[in-house]
């Protein structure tokens, strides 16, 4: 046995378990994902007709964030085997050995229960019910059931990210209207081009871990077409709140410009210089640009509907 290997084994066996730090528990909640969830949830609250006490609104947003974080912790618990294989995720608290798997699961379940109960107390059962379903959707339907079974995993997973606006709306009104459903569909159809643009240049990790991402299973060319088709569907869908009279001109104009720009980027992904298998010869520069723009797209689109409602 080489010295390096014996040193490594010695360290691995004798490394003291000093316990996790608070930041490790925080990392279980996927703070970056939660920040987007908070934003869309807050927009749902702002655009909903009716009144909600600002303190209760703040608690509702906190509950949405807590619920999303809980779902993230359960996701990390279930995915700990593949997280230890993929380079991007090896530093997560469970594969890094900072938090035990059972601890992460318990943490996630406790937070999920607390978030739903608090939301029910602060607002209403409709909002709490949708929050509970969104946690179940992400943790069970997406993570446990479908993520490792189908290359359409991201399409289905997009639903999980689409719930916060509906929850925000329901927190104010006590029911689910047409506008939050349209916002749900917008995030739902936005997720595939957003994530598949990323996966075009970051699929090696998923391949190594055996996760059937679209570029791994169907190839890059098929993925490029899917990015374009979903962006094409997204264009009229994002305009629908305007032509159905649920949003004003500010939103309509913003959705049109952003949709046209997103189509331009998706067209760039489709027309990228490729080899026979559709693999990029330009280091996936158009896919990287499309991924970055997709984040800006969603942020500006949701901001526009809030501005439109407030002006």
């Amino acid at each position: 046995m080489s010295d390096h290997v014996s040193d490594f084994l010695h360290d691995a066996v004798s490394a003291p378990d000093l316990g996790a730090e608070p930041k490790d528990w925080l990392a279980l909640l996927k703070p970056r994902v939660v920040s987007l969830v908070v934003f869309t949830g807050a927009i749902g609250l702002v655009i909903a007709p009716g009144h909600i006490n600002p303190l209760l609104a703040a608690i509702a947003i906190f509950c949405i964030a807590l619920g999303a974080g809980a779902a993230g912790a359960i996701n990390m618990w279930y995915d700990r085997d593949i997280d230890s294989i993929m380079r991007r995720t090896t530093t997560r608290p469970i594969p890094a050995g900072k938090i035990k798997a059972g601890g992460a699961l318990g943490f996630g379940i406790v937070l999920a229960v607390i978030s739903v109960l608090l939301l029910a107390m602060a607002t209403n059962l409709c909002a709490a019910g949708v929050l509970a379903f969104s946690i179940f959707y992400y943790a069970v339907i997406y993570t446990i059931w479908l993520k490792r079974r189908t290359p359409q995993n991201i399409v289905i997973g997009g639903g999980a990210g689409a719930f916060p606006a509906v929850i925000g709306w329901a927190a104010v009104t006590g029911h689910i209207g047409l506008l939050p459903m349209l916002l749900f569909l917008i995030v739902f159809f936005w997720t595939p081009p957003h994530f598949w643009s990323l996966s075009l240049y970051a699929s090696a990790d998923y391949e190594k871990a055996g996760v059937p991402m679209l570029p791994v299973v169907k190839g890059a060319r098929h993925t490029r077409w899917n990015v374009f088709i979903y962006t094409l569907i997204l264009f009229p869908l994002a305009l629908s709140p305007w032509f159905l009279g649920l949003a004003g001109r500010i939103y309509g104009a913003t959705a049109f410009v952003l949709g046209a720009a997103f189509l331009y980027f998706a067209w760039g992904v489709l027309r990228d210089e490729q080899d026979a298998k559709g693999v990029s010869l330009s280091k996936d520069a158009p896919a990287r640009a499309a991924f970055k723009f997709s984040i800006l797209y969603l942020f500006l689109l949701f901001a526009a509907i809030a501005v439109d409602r407030l002006v």
Binding site: P16, L18, G19, A20, E21, P22, W25, N53, L55, L56, I59, F62, I114, L118, M121, A122
Partner: protein
């Protein structure tokens, strides 16, 4: 009446055995780090529980003030 020395001895027997919270082979730095992390976790838990109570209180106050009832 029992002698004070006997009383101390009986009391000492009834007490829980002293539990080593850190491993004996750890270095002083590792022991200090362990204690620091545990203290940080305890404070976080305390803050979380305090926050939870505060939120329940705020919800109750706002709902009772605005609607006259919790549900």
């Amino acid at each position: 009446m029992m002698a004070p020395a006997q009383q101390d001895e009986d009391y000492a027997k009834d007490r829980m055995p002293r539990v080593e919270i850190v491993e004996s082979h750890w270095s002083d730095a590792q022991k200090a780090e362990f204690l620091r992390r545990r203290r940080a976790r305890n404070f976080l838990l305390l803050a979380a529980l305090g926050g939870f109570c505060l939120i329940i209180y705020v919800i109750a106050m706002v709902k009772l003030h605005e609607y006259g009832q919790m549900w």
